[in-house]
Symmetry: D2
Subunit: 180 residues, 4 copies
């Protein structure tokens, strides 16, 4: 995996998933913002579903650190994306875009979240991505972190105390795989 | 909802989801077959992901009762469907087809299943479909039946002891809505 | 191809594509209706995009002959389909559903049509489906019938004078392939 | 449109479409490379289908000028992208990804191309994007440039003599709309 990353110009892509504008609160917005800054500091690309709440705050955090943000939105018009997306993928395929947020990510971090976040975790789990949730953010991150999603135990959903360690977990994973 | 069904020619559509050919066993194949026969007896259309295991056995059960079966497959060529599908929707969009199995269904019945089945349950939950699992079939049906998938509690995932009551649960729901 | 059809329960699937409710007129509605009746008489399944205009009239024609109709709609709710669809695939993926109308069809018949119809012809062409247009219906059927869509000349777009011969063209193709 | 672009961080996104690795030749590779360099010089983001031929050469041109490249690929694994993509959207939805290459673009430039390129032009036409082809590159760019795709005449497909003027056409369009 990392050999591939070294050979190409593709940068590490980390998706931030979680509560949208309806359910995100001050706490989850703050955590999302910090996740965004950490991703930018790591020089990774921040992927998200490109809308409000956790998605928007993560993008804002990344932009405040000069990072690169990509929003993969359900609509077919870019104007629905939050204003902190450098690049907007206007999929036009509705919530089936959850699939490609997860399939496009090298690692995924969940902050809060409802069933849409669970769908993204499921797809990431199916494709054996590195999955990390921050349980203190509640919701799907709390309910589904620290376990497997089915009996096949494809990949364990890790948990982290905070934004910094969540991003570090993903970076460490790719660094250790690089050295081997 | 039912008023709509009465006005159009559209028949009630029930999706059967669960273990694929890799994980389905004699027990789950038998339950799936029975679910298929009950759906056909109710004159409903059986939707499925169109491949093996629970999907194939449900289709076989429906066909043995003269029912109508529709397989919505990931591939873009119909030949990948199981041979008990009257109609094959060759989506070509890979596992994102899970979305449309759920969005096309009026009700959904889960028999066993792994994370793919969980994705279909999640989409059905998001769209507030009638969801029924048969916990004795194990897997996702056992692990996620009898609960909600997120804190919003959009729709309770019902459980049934057997194929007949699972289908009856869905039929009763639409009948009672019709009378009101 | 035909060997496959013989071995499975899958019926021949013919897609009817063309003008939607905004552009279809008395002439194209009538042709579409006749195409629908011919498909039903041939005991094939009528696929369409499930909305108005040519799609709806073709479905109506098929239903008046006791045929089976499947509407593959852009929306994620079945209620947007025309009322002559027995089965509704509520894709939820917007106009990208054009892809699966074409990929799910064994043969495709175009009646009038604009750029959406051209997209469906393009996908059918890419996948080497049997393509027939009725040029007297105007639009895409007139402008793109009787030619190839690119320099690779994958499959010639046939033309027919009327509904009956358009359907016959497709049936003959599968019958002759069956005998060889 | 441009007001929107000013208010958000989203950069202008120009898609380059055309022959893939099977059909692209020295001439079209060179033109694609030049289109890529011009897009990068304009500080726009280069979108493409992320695979070989015109897509790869356009990405290479953009990277040689320090530009930003996004590949939207059919596969669900990033490793299938060409190595000059900074960001890879691994859609997993097969050739239906053509839809989102076009819907995500503010403007589209075609270099050569077959029916896949025509599909992308069609979607861009349906959504009224600025479409420019370079007819000297042959294929779809030659066959469909300088005309409308259907009778509704939604948007005229412009033609350009070379890479520089093709990109300039798109930039001028957005600049003039900005001033009004």
């Amino acid at each position: 995996m990392n050999q591939f990353i070294e050979k190409t110009m593709k940068r590490l892509q980390i998706a931030v998933i979680g509560y949208n504008q309806d359910k995100s609160n001050e706490t989850t917005n703050k955590i999302a913002y910090e996740v965004g800054t950490e991703i930018a500091k790591a020089n990774a690309v921040l992927l998200s579903g490109g809308l409000g709440g956790v998605m928007e705050n993560a993008c804002k955090g990344a932009k405040d650190q000069g990072g690169l943000t990509v929003g993969i939105i359900p609509q077919e018009e870019a104007q629905f994306a939050n204003k902190f997306c450098d690049v907007v993928i206007a999929t036009g395929i509705g919530y089936a875009r959850d699939f490609m947020v997860a399939s496009s990510a090298d690692g995924i971090i969940a902050v809060g979240g409802g069933v849409g976040t669970l769908i993204e975790l499921c797809v990431g789990y199916m494709l054996k991505k590195i999955l990390v949730t921050i349980p203190s953010s509640g919701g799907t991150a709390e309910n589904y972190g620290g376990r497997y999603l089915d009996d096949r135990k494809r990949v364990f959903i890790r948990t982290s105390d905070n934004a910094r360690s969540a991003v570090k977990d993903i970076l460490d994973y790719f660094e250790s795989n690089q050295q081997s």
